[in-house]
């Protein structure tokens, strides 16, 4: 199941608060920067679509070569979970987003966490990577 994937959580003010390369394929250095660039460029498109639809999971909103961007928006406006991937596993991606959303809420419940700051917990990181291996 070699697939490239880059996952990012963007909060309001468009600041990424969490980034991770979760693909199983070997990573190349330039590819990492490229992935981040693609995800940031897709933010505008996300804004447009998010206001028109009332669904939470927006499938493939953008393409680049053969990589596809999928986005999940939460009700608390402007928190977006974005995933760049080349697989076509929509249901798996949806469940992945839902589980990461739960993890994100749990980290928000931490009174010492300032909402909008970077998530530095290694526990969060390990869990996200485990979920990625499971669903992607």
């Amino acid at each position: 199941m070699t697939s490239t994937a880059c996952f990012m959580i963007v909060s309001r003010n468009d600041i990424p608060i969490y980034e991770a390369e979760v693909g199983a394929a070997p990573k190349k250095e330039e590819a990492v920067h490229q992935h981040q660039f693609i995800l940031h460029a897709a933010l505008d498109i996300v804004q447009d679509i998010a206001w028109t639809t009332s669904a939470m999971f927006l499938k493939s909103i953008d393409r680049f070569n053969d990589l596809v961007v999928s986005v999940y928006v939460t009700a608390a406006i402007h928190t977006r979970l974005m995933l760049l991937h080349d697989s076509r596993n929509d249901d798996g991606i949806k469940s992945f987003f839902q589980e990461v959303h739960e993890l994100y809420i749990k980290s928000l419940l931490n009174p010492l966490y300032l909402p909008g700051s970077r998530i530095k917990s290694s526990h969060f990181d390990t869990k996200v990577r485990a979920l990625a291996r499971k669903y992607l």
Partner: protein
Amino acid sequence: MGKEVSESCLDILLIETVSSYTNGFYAGKPELVAQAVEAIGYQVGNQLCERYTMERSQFSDHLEAIKFICTDFWIKIFKKQIDTLRTDHKGTFVLRDNRFRWISRVSNPISEDSGATFPSTLPVNFAQSRKMHLYFPCGIIRGALSNLAIPCAVTADISSLPSCIFTIQIRRD
């Protein structure tokens, strides 16, 4: 995600929070007490709102968001809905709860038989200290709304126990 807590524990915690801020940390400075308690409520409101809007998608406008607060949100916290909601469609919402849970235990010395043992200054202090207990729910509402990207100011009013009126003023700027 969501364990249960006994209600009397929660009541005692809230009463003690207000009392320790009023008499301990900021004794004699009611404005600071109000700010501190409201700030605690703000953070709690943020977190509760995130949790309870997990399944939902975005709200289409302010009225929808306020209705959510009046129904689902209030049910999850207080096990009942808000009884009356009024709006002037210009950004002011008036929420009225006929039997507000957290102040249902507060006694009302005015209605009791005034046995003349209370000094005349006491009713004023009672009103003041009762107001303190309302800053926390005001903060919760403000935190929940600001998590839905609606900046607002919330005030509360208990002129008639046990009902409670929250006034939400949405800031447009």
